[in-house]
Amino acid sequence: MTQALERSDYHRKQKRFAHENVTSPIKKGIGLASFMHGSGFTGSGEKILASVVGVEATSGGLVRILAASTEIGQGTNTIFSQIAADTLHLDYDSIEVAQPDTSQVPNSGPTVASRTCMIVGKLVESACISLKQTLISAGLLKENYSPTEFRKACSDYHQKFGPLKLFSKYQQPPQIGWDDVKYQGDAYGAYAWAVYIAEVSVDTRTCEVQVKDFVALQEVGKVIHPILAAGQIEGGVAQGIGYALYENVVWKDGRMANGQMTNYIMPTAADVPLIRVFFEEVPYAYGPAGAKGIGELPMDGPAPAILSAVENALGITGLNQIPLLPENLMLRHRSSR
């Protein structure tokens, strides 16, 4: 919290805006939201799903990850390869990720619920550890090995025993408990935590709100890939800005009446400020290299932060509906005067 307040210059800006707003038709405001998002399925979800991940090594020492997670640009293949390379002390380039076709790969569950990194990534890590252990206990590899020795061990293994394929199945960390009857207990194994601070300007003539600055500070455990992780946050925040200010789903007779880009308005390059992303890293014991979930977190914070910034700008309270379209704000602003 302290860091987010400092990075956004929260207190000084609040004072300065209060002073400037008196004479300007464009009112500025700053607001914050502190929140968390659970990683992985809720309650017993992960236990019931009991996801499985496999790794196989070819006789040439190429490692293939067998998982059902889908790469949709969020970086799954990159981080899985990083996790495997790191665990096996190999080059990133000697890792391959199989296509997520369940006739070829085990069921590691759906690509949802901020679970790919923390749950499936952890299984990648543990399957790689089993792979390494198998080669070591077969007497083909020493504890400390070079990539060349690893390749040699894989080739020897194939000659002696045949294909080398290991699987790892999800096991719930012992301290987590969820009661499915009483619906009580630990809803999630871990949470990602965040403080988001939005700065807005509100034109009191048109009631148009613009987001001028956005600080997104979060703790998602260990960050596996800084560029991809920041990309997840920035994308989520931009969606959150749309959620807060523009994206209005109009239902008519059970259908969406504005299902076109012409009338369903999402933020453009002109609407999104430079999103400033910061990570606090507190490794989580049951995530791969200490990582937790990240994907959904950034959707939760922008709307409350932006609405509270608008309240701050206009000196009102009780804004509790999104999207905060100019016409809605205008009604609200007029009635409060």
Partner: protein, 168 residues
């Protein structure tokens, strides 16, 4: 689309190409279906998202809104021509390098259009190193992206403005 077809001749990425199509076929479909240049994407099909951006005679245009008959004899450049044009040899364009290096692409649907828009801005600016963040925003405002929040795209384009591979 039924009815009679016409023969369209055009220059695409420096090559003479032709297609026998209905005159109102969208240029986007001529490129993707007839010429098998699938780098250009369809996002909305209604001129809102910019995923289908290409150059027609050097102008940045949404190819989903252009009927084939309108490009008879035109010079067209698509994303496939950005890296392979003679000007750059077989190397990637500076904008492409920058997108790769600075995380400018996630799912990739908006990427070809974004790159076309950024290339258009850079190549039409005498000294790309003077391009400001605001100019980049304006230049990319017609290209929607759902994944990146634009931040990494702005950063990539800013970097590209200073890369040697971006000079016109």
């Amino acid at each position: 689309m039924s009815g009679h077809t016409v023969r369209i001749e055009l220059t695409v990425n420096g090559q003479q190409r032709e297609a026998q199509v209905h005159p109102m076929t969208r240029l986007l479909d001529v490129l993707r279906e007839n010429l098998r240049l699938t780098g250009t994407k369809e996002g909305c099909g209604e001129g809102e998202c910019g995923a289908c951006s290409i150059f027609i005679n050097g102008e940045l245009v949404n190819s989903c809104l252009v009927p084939a008959i309108q490009v008879q004899g035109a010079v067209i450049q698509t994303i496939e021509g950005v890296s392979s044009s003679k000007k750059y040899g077989s190397k990637l364009h500076g904008v492409q390098e920058a997108f790769l290096g600075w995380g400018g692409a996630q799912c990739g649907i908006c990427t070809p259009g974004m790159i076309m828009a950024a290339v258009h801005l850079i190549e039409n600016t005498l000294d790309p190193t003077t391009i400001t963040e605001n100019q980049i925003r304006t230049a990319l405002a017609g290209n929607l992206c759902r994944c990146t929040g634009y931040t990494k795209i702005f950063e990539a384009v800013q970097k590209a403005c200073h890369l040697p591979g971006s000079k016109a």
